[in-house]
Symmetry: C2
Subunit: 323 residues, 2 copies
């Protein structure tokens, strides 16, 4: 384009702007939406339809010993290197809904509304057009508060009133045992016993116990990944040739605990076993290149785990704009 033409263009544009006399006032400064998009995400797995339905995310201010075998300074350095909010570890919560074609299965239920940025599962389900009454089976990976609290509404009623509720045998035995509770240390572990009672204390007869190696729903098999809790379970979800592993809390947030699989986060009930499980699980997942759904991975929490350095790294699955 010549200088002349450009001058002509720019003059022309100015003239056009004047001539068109658009009613700009009517459009300028469109109101900000002021709220986030609903956080749910779909994908296909063979004939199954998966929906990650976020319960939210929150920055966790570090308690005195967040990782048993590493000083907080080192933890915060890793968190800072991962651009987390200063002085905190940023943790998302990703329940997974599986539509097998015959059953609607929800794996884990979120934290409940204990903070403004969590307990969002009901609104994520609503945005996804899922009636809580339509859920057939709720499977619990383990009985920590951020996985079970969403089973009940704030008024104590069941959030998924028509669902069969499935809990792993060893986890149930451990967390519902009053002697275990009596000797639990104050803090996270004691609180976890409290949550277990608050949620399950008056609905014991509604609970079905599952065992590792068995199907908790068609195509969804419970896998022994004990350590994080005594009955901590992952789930191998398979439809046709397509497979996904819902990992629960084999590792917490990847920037800290995939990178450093030997870090013993305070949430691990049996730390040595949790480390061994972590390595076994990810060595297998990396070798098989199997897609993983991570409860504490960045939403939507789907990706592959690879060996990297002395630990592992997450390769997030790219967002697909179509199903």
């Amino acid at each position: 384009m010549s200088e002349l033409t450009r001058r002509g263009l720019m003059a022309g544009a100015a003239a056009a702007g004047a001539a068109l006399a658009l009613p700009r006032e009517a459009f300028a400064g469109a109101a900000a939406a002021g709220k986030q998009v609903p956080s749910f995400y779909r994908s296909k797995l063979g004939d199954f339809e998966l929906t990650v339905v976020s319960d939210g995310a929150r920055p966790i201010p570090l308690p005195p010993r967040f990782v048993l075998n590493v000083p907080n300074e080192e933890v915060l350095k890793a968190a800072d290197a991962a651009y987390m909010p200063k002085g905190t570890v940023f943790a998302p919560f990703n329940p997974l809904l599986v539509n097998t074609g015959t059953k609607l299965v929800l794996i884990d239920t979120g934290y409940g509304p204990i903070a403004p940025t969590v307990g969002l599962l009901p609104q994520s389900l609503a945005a996804a057009g899922v009636d809580p009454k339509s859920i057939d089976i709720v499977v619990i990976s383990h009985m920590h508060g951020d996985h079970i609290n969403g089973l009940k509404n704030p008024d104590g009623s069941l959030a998924f009133p028509n669902a069969e509720i499935k809990v792993q045998a060893r986890d149930w035995e451990f967390w519902m045992d009053d002697a275990n509770m009596a000797k639990a240390p104050e803090g996270f572990v004691k609180a976890s016993f409290g949550f277990a009672r608050k949620i399950f204390g008056d609905i014991k007869t509604r609970v079905t116990i599952y065992q590792w190696g068995s199907e908790v729903a068609p195509g969804i098999t419970a896998v022994d990944t004990a350590g994080h809790t005594p009955g901590h379970s992952s789930f191998a979800i398979q439809s046709g040739q397509s497979k996904l592993l819902f990992q629960g809390d084999v590792a917490n947030v990847p920037d800290l605990f995939l990178t450093n699989p030997e870090w013993k986060v305070m949430f691990d009930n049996e730390p040595d076993q949790a480390v061994a499980t972590r390595k076994r699980f990810y060595d297998m997942a990396a070798a098989e290149k199997v897609l993983i759904s991570g409860y504490h991975f960045p939403f939507p929490g789907l990706g592959w785990v690879e060996k990297a350095g002395s630990g592992y790294r997450l390769v997030p699955a790219p967002w697909s704009p179509v199903l």
Copy 2:
């Protein structure tokens, strides 16, 4: 829990299932949604509200020389290592909407409906509640088809009829010059001249030319990142102390072109300059730890770029479930 209790529980659960006689038929096998969630995502930048409004994504089957200085075998190896669909490079398209409080500004407009999985910008905007008529300014980072085609509807009418349309001076001069078009090689470059004419040929007087270093909208400054095209521009977006760089195509998909900044993708018009720009841009962005919005980064395309090995890597910003 004792064995007895567990047996009791399981028997109890079975009895409860029979006794409650839930009308499971009414809920079992809830219909699959069958479609993806709308792909848009909001964030705050100071007083500005940003919305990434996806135009979609698609797997690009490799033409004979996708990267000028690297054999396709090596490119496909990198794509495969990044879990892309076999034999293709998976590329997303992420236009960015900026609400400055006084102006609604759209940066780039997507591919148009040239394939089933792109041209989704209109539906992403609709899902975000944004009337195309309400957009005040459309800014074009550069005049390639996947950034400009969405300016027009399939019937040739303007998709954003009330918007001022802004194009960088050097890009306009290059792509609208008939002599340049006449000598352009067949294929991507020739096609790009065609797209430029199809979109801008009959709306020249609607276009405003912008220069590097100037504001294209309040708080949005055009930055010289030439090389990908002669006038290729990035945008420094600032509100208060908060800053973001919309990078356009400084690098294409990160798994290939952040990792290997010296790879000369066939889309780079001035390959040597594109490599130099890439290094200068990311060295600066990494040192400043500034958040980047990447048009071809995995949706929502926000993250930080760090030096890694002989190149760079993307640290995706975690999805925030609240604004």
